[in-house]
């Protein structure tokens, strides 16, 4: 590993206490939430003795520290425990839902880039002219529209009248999934694009004022050619950072959209586990979300270092 990338190892090491802290926080929050998980497992008709037996089996009467330590011991071995509700391994539940969320996030990012790049570039080139004002106005509108509302509008105005897209579910075959993901991806793209457009516009405007761009102009480059060859790579650096910062927002939007469109992804699983007070499942999903944020931030730093050789990140 090159010296410039030594920070990766340091970051990974620093991520461990961060993840431990997140899991502990969720663990403590769930401890103080009312409702006895043992009663949920054993059923309404069971006697108090049966409930007590289940509490004992699950170690729910042990100290919070013991329960936390036991959980962490399992996590280290890849064991996220068993769901209180479905009695399935949480790791299996997460694995089953992960591809759906991944499918949504990747297609949403593609859509957002398809919106962001042309509009961001156009707004920068059209700086302070009508095109710029219109783009910025539309971006502002996009920021103001909640994603669940956009999703519902797409269902009501596109899916229902045309019948081209399902209003919910993920389907079985590749074709069905591609079809099912279109509207959620467009919604996610619309949710993410406005801030990206404004960021890209600002970066491009900054780059356009640089000496090297002036040199490009002197060589005869102009318009989109100038932007593509001399500006975009440098401007992309801030986009990558922004994308990382948007990860939390992306995960939140994913939760909302999976519920709106009935997609069986991690977000929907998280909501269901929280509603059912399925502690091991909530912990499992939270761990995955936290890990995702940590890895995305790390990835963004790596990409930035690749994009700009001057970048030196200290762990």
């Amino acid at each position: 590993m090159s010296g410039r990338f030594l920070f990766v190892g340091k970051r990974l090491i620093l991520a461990v206490p961060l993840l431990l802290g997140v899991v502990l926080l969720v663990f403590l929050l769930l401890q103080i939430t009312p409702g006895d998980p043992a009663r949920q497992i054993v059923g309404l008709r069971a006697s108090e003795a049966d409930v007590a037996q289940v509490r004992d089996q699950l170690g729910l009467d042990d100290s919070v520290f013991s329960q936390y330590a036991r959980y962490l011991g399992g996590v280290v071995q890849g064991d996220l425990g068993f769901s209180y509700k479905s009695r399935q391994p949480v790791a299996d539940m997460v694995a089953a839902r992960l591809p759906v969320s991944g499918w949504l996030v990747i297609s949403g990012l593609v859509v957002s880039l398809m919106i962001t790049i042309p509009l961001g570039v156009w707004a920068a080139i059209q700086r302070d002219r009508a095109g710029d004002h219109i783009t910025r106005g539309v971006s502002l509108l996009g920021i103001a529209m909640p994603s669940f509302w956009v999703g519902l509008m797409l269902i009501l105005l596109v899916a229902l009248p045309t019948g081209w897209f399902p209003v919910g579910g993920f389907g079985d075959t590749f074709g069905q999934r591609l079809n099912a993901i279109v509207l959620p991806a467009v919604t996610l793209g619309i949710a993410m694009a406005p801030i990206q457009i404004r960021s890209l516009r600002a970066s491009i405007i900054r780059c356009l004022g640089s000496d090297y761009v002036a040199a490009g102009r002197a060589l005869g480059a102009s318009g989109f050619l100038l932007v593509r060859r001399f500006v975009l790579r440098n401007a992309a650096s801030s986009m990558v950072t922004l994308a990382a910062v948007q990860t939390s927002f992306l995960l939140f939007t994913m939760v909302v959209l999976e519920t709106t469109f009935g997609l069986p992804g991690l977000g929907q699983g998280m909501v269901m586990a929280a509603v059912q007070r399925d502690l091991p499942a909530v912990q499992g999903y939270t761990l995955v979300f936290a890990l995702t944020v940590v890895l995305v931030y790390l990835l963004a730093d790596v990409v930035n270092a690749v994009l700009d050789p001057r970048v030196e990140i200290r762990g």
């Binding site: 009312p34 008709r45 019948g163 059912q276």
Partner: protein, 520 residues
């Protein structure tokens, strides 16, 4: 000078862009494939099912395949479809029918039941159902902490021959066949088919009409036809997809879009979003009630309980049901075998009488009225109740609790008034009586000594007139002592597309999937 992006050849850039695009597509394809892709699935499965597939949308989540852990109607329904019990409940809510047991015979003198297993009964892997499987299944029922007690009359199981089995009882029990229609009486392979219990219930097989193709907890269940099902030609469908979604609007919209063929248990607040002629209600049965905590003031005083019974505006509660319900005629869910009303009509809305009764008692203020916040309709009912109480000077604070917290509050009697709902799941009024018995009259803390005696007497006789007299005595006790307030009986309602045939829902909302057909 700032570093500059090297100007590369156009072909190299195109190549790079193509690689990126291809990378995205490949990642997408891999992810779609990873998500349990089923290439055998019929085309159009995302929509409302293809030629012989059916899509059902519902709000209630499947809780798992362990029969003893099932508490909801939906879970019971799913388990019955895969691990069918010995006997079947007829949708009319009155009769027990043959099922895996083609016939049965009760000997009250023995006392014992002898069951003859259908010659064609087989598990979905093709293995015939034998007496040994039934005997093993009974062991599992009895071990269940939740439902084991209701099979407590079975003292011994004798395997008479390969297809005949006798349950020797410790005491006469004329109602055992009713309990054998429950999901908790699932028939499973002897010794879990050579697997551990955990392995088996993670991926169960049974002798029901369908086998489990997949289950994504909280999202979807896919069932496929059991080719070895004992009923000729059934099931009529090759595949059933059950989509679970909390969002009531999404269920309605999916139905409108044709993605769903059936929405079962349509939420009251979305009834108007469905075509009226496609709504099929079950007979009135579900009981919405308000439990009164009789273990503490003010409801330890029967005078206060009667006052509250007179204070409730039953008409306003019924109005919430939009024509799919009626005012209660007693404290037991209706339209099941042997249901009879109490000797007197249920208390009427009479605020003046309520005020008079309250004037003779200690003041009832600052009460806590809890409800399960996951059920949207119950907040409405709780609000009506709160208004009714306020009209006679009783102040009650509404507290919507998440289901687990609500159930804990019920068990801990940590409330004054609790709004909830209940139903039977089998065709005999002894079913709710049993529930009242194990829950101290719906978690009110009311003494169940008399009810326990009634239960015993009911199960020991086969005479319907005697049984109905006993039920009337229970109704009368509820009427006079008011441990809880029956607020309304409502009809659970399913939305069913015209191309679906064979949908007949029992009063408690379950229907047999093997009877459904589609004609697109």
């Amino acid at each position: 000078m700032d570093s500059c992006v090297p100007v590369r050849s156009r072909s190299a850039q195109i190549c790079r862009h193509t690689r990126h695009a291809a990378g995205v597509i490949v990642i997408g394809a891999i992810m779609a494939g990873c998500a349990g892709s089923n290439t055998d699935a019929p085309d159009g499965a995302t929509g409302g099912g293809s030629a012989n597939e059916l899509v059902i949308y519902r709000g209630e989540k499947h809780e798992g395949w362990h029969p003893d852990a099932a508490t909801g109607i939906a879970t019971s329904h799913n388990i019955n479809s895969v691990m069918e019990p010995l006997l079947r409940a007829h949708p009319d809510g009155q009769q027990v029918e043959p099922g895996i047991a083609a016939s049965w015979d009760y000997d009250p003198e023995g006392p014992s039941y002898t069951f003859v297993i259908d010659d064609d009964a087989a598990f979905s892997d093709g293995t015939p159902v034998t007496a040994a499987d039934v005997a093993f299944s009974v062991e599992q029922w009895l071990d269940g902490p939740n439902y084991g007690e209701i099979y407590g009359s079975i003292a011994n199981v004798v395997e008479v021959d390969e297809r005949t089995v006798t349950f020797e009882l410790g005491a006469p029990d004329s109602t055992l066949p009713v309990m054998l229609t429950w999901m908790s009486a699932a028939i499973i392979p002897d010794d879990f088919g050579g697997r551990s219990a955990a392995e088996f219930y993670a991926d169960p097989i049974g002798a029901g009409a369908f086998a489990v193709e997949s289950w994504t907890p909280g999202s979807e269940i896919v069932l496929t036809r059991n080719e070895h099902y004992y009923q000729p030609e059934r099931p009529y469908l090759d595949r059933i997809r059950i989509v679970e979604t909390d969002d009531v609007s999404q269920r309605a919209v999916s139905y409108e879009a044709g993605d769903a063929d059936i929405v079962d248990a349509v939420s009251i607040d979305t009834l108007q979003q469905f075509p009226e002629d496609e709504l099929i209600p079950a007979p009135e049965h579900f009981l919405t009630y308000a439990g009164l905590n009789v273990t503490r003031e003010p409801f330890d005083d029967v005078q206060v309980r009667r006052a509250v019974a007179a204070a409730v505006d039953y008409g306003a509660v019924t109005e919430l049901l939009q024509g799919y319900g009626s005012a209660p005629q007693g404290g037991l869910p209706e339209n099941v075998r042997n249901w009879v009303p109490s000797s007197h009509p249920w208390h009427e809305h009479d605020p003046d009488l309520a005020a008079d009764l309250l004037a003779e008692t200690a003041a009832a203020t600052d009460l806590v009225l809890i409800y399960d916040s996951s059920l949207g309709s119950e907040r409405l009912v709780a609000t009506v109740l709160q208004d009714s109480l306020a009209a006679v000077g009783i102040g009650a604070e509404l507290r919507g609790l998440e289901t687990a917290a609500f159930i804990e509050a019920l068990h801990g009697l940590d409330y004054d008034i609790a709004v909830w709902q209940m139903s039977a799941i089998s065709p005999d009024v002894i079913d709710p009586i049993g529930f009242y018995l194990v829950t101290d009259y719906l978690f009110t803390g009311y003494d169940t000594t008399t009810l326990g005696e009634v239960y015993q007497q009911y199960t020991q006789t086969t005479d319907e007139a005697t049984q109905q007299t006993l039920i009337r005595s229970v109704q009368d006790e509820i009427h006079d002592q008011v441990p809880f307030l029956p607020l309304a009986n409502y009809q659970i309602t399913g939305a069913v597309k015209p191309h679906v045939d064979g949908f007949e829902m029992a009063p408690w909302g379950m229907y047999w999937l093997d009877e459904l057909r589609v004609a697109r």
